[in-house]
């Protein structure tokens, strides 16, 4: 059956060639678990490096202006890029 692997990279800024600062991976093509705190080094140094390794970019977080009155507030990570690879799952 067809399956999907999802890689989410959080970048230093809005450019795809900026440095990865956080990352997550879910694998729909195997039974292998990936979990919080699994690795200390990212799988790619930048978003561009993931593209060059065959990952398809399917979503980037939009660039939103600061909310008036809350310009100094920090919250979630701003520069999220979602990548996929399609594969075949053997069941």
């Amino acid at each position: 059956m067809d399956c999907q692997q999802v890689l989410v990279l959080y970048l230093r800024n809005s450019a795809l060639d900026s440095e990865v600062i956080a990352w997550s991976f879910w694998d729909g093509c195997s039974d292998e678990e990936h979990f919080a705190g699994e690795t200390d080094e990212p799988p790619y140094a930048s978003g561009l490096e993931a593209l060059r390794d065959g990952w398809r970019l399917i979503q980037m977080s939009p660039l939103l202006p600061p909310t008036p009155g809350a310009e100094l507030q920090t919250s979630v990570l701003k520069y999220e890029c979602v990548f996929e690879k399609l594969g075949v799952r053997h069941v």
Binding site: V8, Y10, L11, R12, N13, S14, V20, I21, A22, W23, S24, F25, E33, H34, F35, A36, G37, E38, T39, D40, P42, L72, Q73, T74, S75, V76, L77, K78, Y79
Partner: protein, 290 residues
């Protein structure tokens, strides 16, 4: 409260910048063993024997029992508590967390409780590890410096790994004191034995202004914190405070400078000195004065 060792200014600055303080192997082994004996008795849920205080109970009204008293009356623990939340903190909750052995996964990253809009106040969470935590035991994972980010509990669960994340791996008797906002989660315990951690949340009962040992601070220190950004005369007096408060973390993105600003805002509140600044970050935004 009885005998205590208050925090120094440098330690409080580290707490403001990183959101935690760590005291390795602080609690004597005899107290650790007494704690484990009392709360990890075979065949019984460990939390059954914890004293059941109502949230909101004042510290002075809490009858902790023998082993918890020995932990919480330790001069360094008591001093850290008083330095951060005052002499009469408010009990919020406590719990013994048990990470079961041979687990397949880890707890998601999260911030405790709910989104918390307080800007000049914070709660603390004590984490006490009564036995050694090896790398296989999945000690609590935390991300230094994330405590001032306003998120809602497991909203951040999507973030599996952040650069600079730390896993507690420590000798018996280690105590961590966390700002309530620090992002964290239990690690995956792949060992053959359960891992125990006692957590206690305390709230301040009043303003958290200069509660620590401040004899190491004077007005000339405060002046020195306005350092030149690029070019200018270096200070001739060594001072670790601006270095600590302006330290970046590997996970910082484009918003790192906002982290500095939020640290300065909290630092101002703790000093009770709203004019204090470091490296001109706040003064620039406040010029001209209203």
């Amino acid at each position: 409260m009885s005998e205590k060792v208050l925090l120094k200014t440098e330690a409080v600055a580290r707490f403001v910048a990183e959101g935690f303080l760590s005291f390795e192997a602080l609690i004597p082994e005899e107290v650790n063993q007494a704690f484990l004996q009392e709360f990890s008795a075979a065949g019984e849920a460990p939390n059954v024997r914890l004293p059941a205080f109502l949230p909101g109970t004042r510290w002075s009204e809490c009858a902790w029992g023998k082993s918890l008293s020995r932990l919480l009356q330790h001069p360094v623990v008591l001093g850290a508590i008083q330095s951060l939340v005052g002499e009469s903190p408010i009990f919020d909750h406590h719990h013994i967390h048990v990470a079961q052995p041979q687990a397949h996964t880890a707890q998601h990253n999260h911030q405790d409780s709910t989104v918390d809009p307080r800007e000049t106040a914070f709660d603390i969470q004590l984490m006490y590890f009564p036995h050694e935590v090896t790398s296989e035991m999945g000690g609590t994972r935390y991300i230094p410096g994330t405590h001032l980010r306003r998120v809602h509990e497991s909203q951040i669960a999507r973030y599996q790994n952040l650069k600079g994340q730390v896993r507690v791996c420590c000798p018996a008797g280690t105590v961590l004191v966390l700002h309530h906002g620090l992002w964290h989660g239990a690690g995956r315990n792949t060992s053959a034995v359960p891992r125990f951690m006692y957590k206690l949340r305390l709230q301040p009962s009043g303003p958290q202004i200069r509660l620590w040992e401040t004899s190491d601070l004077d007005d000339s220190d405060l002046q020195r914190w306005q350092r030149p950004i690029f070019h200018g005369p270096p200070s001739t007096v060594p001072d670790s405070i601006p270095e600590i408060l302006m330290k970046s973390h590997p996970w910082f993105d484009n918003e790192g400078r906002l982290e500095y600003i939020n640290r300065i805002r909290l630092w101002r509140a703790l000093l009770g000195r709203p004019e204090v600044d470091i490296d001109y970050w706040m003064t620039r935004l406040e010029t001209p004065k209203a």
